[in-house]
Amino acid sequence: MNEKTKLFVRRKFEEYYRRARISIPKDFWMHEWGFVFLDHYFPEKLVMRRHKSFATEKELVNYLRENAPAHAYHSAAIYKYPAADMATKGWLGADLIFDLDADHIVSEEELQRYSYEDLLGLVKKETVKLIDFLINDFGFHEEDIELVFSGSRGYHIHIKTDEVRGLGSRERREIVDYVMATGLDMKAVLVGKTATADYAVRELRRCTECNKITTKMICPACGRDTIKVEGKMGKEGRDVRLLASEGWGKRLRKGLRDFFITEIIGRSDEEGIKQLRGMGMTKEMAKKIVNMTKEEGMAKRIERMEEGKLGFFPMPVWAKIIEREKVKSADSPDAPVTADIKRLIRLPTSLHGKSSLEVKPVRIETFDDFDPLEDAVVFGDSAVEITAVRNSTIKMKGERYKVEAREIASVPEHAAIYFMCRGVAEIKEKNSPG
């Protein structure tokens, strides 16, 4: 970003901060604040000015207006002396923060393959899952969950109740582990035999090929179909397992059902078989299961899954279901973000200096319809001439813009500033006045 472009962006950021209504966190005076300016280091070197504090809302707003920072953050923690150095700040508590970002969800190589829009879609899916965990498992109220678009490739969640503020970093880690299924032990959720007798007492079947008597649909000895015969096996159905009805047990019940419905029943035979084979089943086994889903009894079987009553399912199947149900990354695996009780988080309603998008609060009810490339765009539509320095494309407000290196293009202001912040384009040099 050359100086001229920087100046332009800075002007535009200033305009934004002059008109924007900044969402000021409660207890803002107890937070530490940090900013990166559009100064001459930017963006090659990001100099964070930390350990700031503000006594009044006005002081904070004026600071933003005067400096129009490229990035604005406040601490998750509240302190007695927020402006003191780390050792003497006097930690009083911290909001519970989740940071879901595309680069924690897909690997670095994959990252290149996805478009920005696709990545946002992926993160959104994970965010929906996380919110579901927070409400249904952790019992947070919807109004206590502040959902914010990060301004870049993800979402943040802030929870600021008194109870969470006292949690230590170890306790926070446990919450992250919960939503990411880290350390989940199948033994803990498979609680044992069914308590109700009807399924425990099982009908006997005979193999159509080798005549073995079994309770299985498929003969364990030769893999052929079995048919029902007279008689029952009443030994409390030793291999009937019951999935716990709460916590991860409940999620796995639902996950198993969803998996069967969407990945096996809802697909062609070949795809269904492929899915199952991918989980380590033999071809025969996979075929049998796919055929089984077409039998009349399948509805009943799905019902049983919902009740948590299971026949035997091998570990790879669970691994697959857990993978589907867990939040892929509420946190980057190497940096325990949520557990870090001293970290900084972007100020909602500030601008993200690498995208020019607003760090936008989103209501959970309307999250489904939220489109950052529409709803977090804050700049106008008047045409701006830019010189592209490399190829890039973006779809904003429903329009796709494409620029090629060295091309001069005239695009709406919001797209122009986006490209500048991404380092894709510079403002076009005027050759001569007029």
């Binding site: 249904n136 109870e163 306790e171 919960y178 880290t182 803990a188 916590g247 047990g249």
Partner: protein
């Protein structure tokens, strides 16, 4: 004079016998407060000598056995002795001011109280199981509900905040939140599991504020009780350090032989020893390495104690995490390539040329050393 006071109170404030088994509960401390026994009395009054001796005994038992035995109560006076011995023990522990002692003492008291609690709840000697759970949760400010699923045993549920707070030190993976039934913010527990959590709450309560800030003249006045405790503590410590500081024991079987550690690891270790602040990546490397060669978590924590920013709890957590308890993966120490990337490959020598992993360095060097020893031996025999 004191005798009269004591008698008078014993008459007027009824206190259930079993309270003295849990002297850290609020009823017990209220009793002590209202009994009119002053700090002055407690440390010097002749009639309270029994309480003081029992107080000292509590600590000695804690050091020796990790338990504080619950006596058979035969008289009211004994109840009082038991109750008053507890605050005196706290004063003693505080005057000694040793961190290890504080932890050991608090843990022993909590454990013994827990055992008593289990006994009470199974014999029903102090009311029903439900009463005990209710009383205890009220005492520790935990909101509990009882609920019953169809065809299942009655369970207890508590808010996950409290659950996390009190299970922070429980390492078994079944305590991990992810393995619990959690619904709408409440964690489901079996009754005995809840009681186990109460032990943690008791531990926190007992450890809280210890060591107390006791004025030096008071510590001076009770010096006579301190000597035996210090001696016991020293002995324990000696045993402890002999047994645990794995690679200083000079045992013949050289499983953890620091002389065979690769230069990178030795360098980090010496920095830790000298209290030099060591970057995170190096701490990770050394911790994983030591765990991989078989040191225990406690032994490793010992090593970190010299570190300038030592925080026991945090270190314990980090080491535990690397060790892979609570269900996390057990880490293998980083390879030479990674060590190099983070600038932790320091002091490369000729053995390094043959290996690509600090652990292989260690194994190779051990082998070489043994070979050499064998040779030396046979050389000696020959000569």
């Amino acid at each position: 004079m004191v005798d009269i006071i004591m008698d008078w109170h014993a008459e007027s404030i009824p206190i259930p016998t079993h309270t003295c088994f849990y002297p850290f509960l609020s009823v017990a401390s209220e009793y002590v407060e209202e009994s009119g026994v002053t700090l002055e009395n407690l440390i010097s009054s002749a009639v309270l000598e029994r309480a003081r001796l029992r107080g000292k005994g509590r600590i000695l038992e804690a050091i020796r056995d990790g338990k504080v035995k619950k006596p058979v109560i035969l008289s009211k006076a004994q109840v009082e002795t038991e109750l008053l011995s507890y605050p005196f023990a706290r004063i003693l522990v505080s005057c000694i001011g040793d961190k290890y002692l504080v932890r050991r003492y608090a843990l022993s008291e909590a454990k013994s109280a827990y055992e008593k609690l289990l006994e009470d709840s199974s014999t029903g000697s102090t009311g029903s199981d439900t009463d005990i759970i209710n009383d205890m949760s009220e005492e520790f400010g935990i909101r509990v509900d009882f609920f019953r699923l169809p065809a299942e045993r009655e369970q207890v549920q508590m808010p996950f905040f409290d659950y996390l707070r009190f299970t922070a030190n429980l390492r078994d993976k079944r305590w991990k939140l992810v393995n619990r039934g959690l619904e709408k913010g409440m964690v489901k527990l079996r009754r005995h599991e809840f009681l186990r959590i109460i032990q943690e709450a008791m531990y926190e309560r007992i450890k809280k504020d210890l060591p107390l800030d006791v004025p030096s003249d008071i510590c001076g006045a009770i010096k006579g009780y301190v000597g035996d405790i210090k001696k016991e503590l020293e002995e324990k410590r000696k045993k402890f350090s002999d047994a645990s500081f794995g690679f200083e024991s000079g045992s013949e079987f050289l499983v953890k032989d620091p002389s065979c550690f690769p230069p990178c690891i030795s360098y980090i270790l010496s920095n830790l020893k000298e209290g030099v602040n060591v970057p995170h990546s190096a701490r990770f490397a050394v911790t994983a390495f030591l765990l991989n060669v078989g040191l225990t978590e406690d032994e490793i924590i010992e090593i970190y104690k010299n570190s300038p920013d030592f925080d026991e709890e945090q270190t314990r957590y980090q080491v535990g995490h690397i060790a892979g308890d609570k269900g996390s993966v057990r880490y293998t120490s980083p390879s030479c390539a990674t060590m190099h990337t983070y600038g932790n490959c320091v002091g490369k020598d000729e053995i390094c040329e043959k290996v690509s992993h600090p652990l292989s360095y260690y194994k190779l060097k051990l082998k070489l050393k043994r070979k050499k020893e064998q040779q030396d031996k046979s050389n000696k025999k020959e000569s």
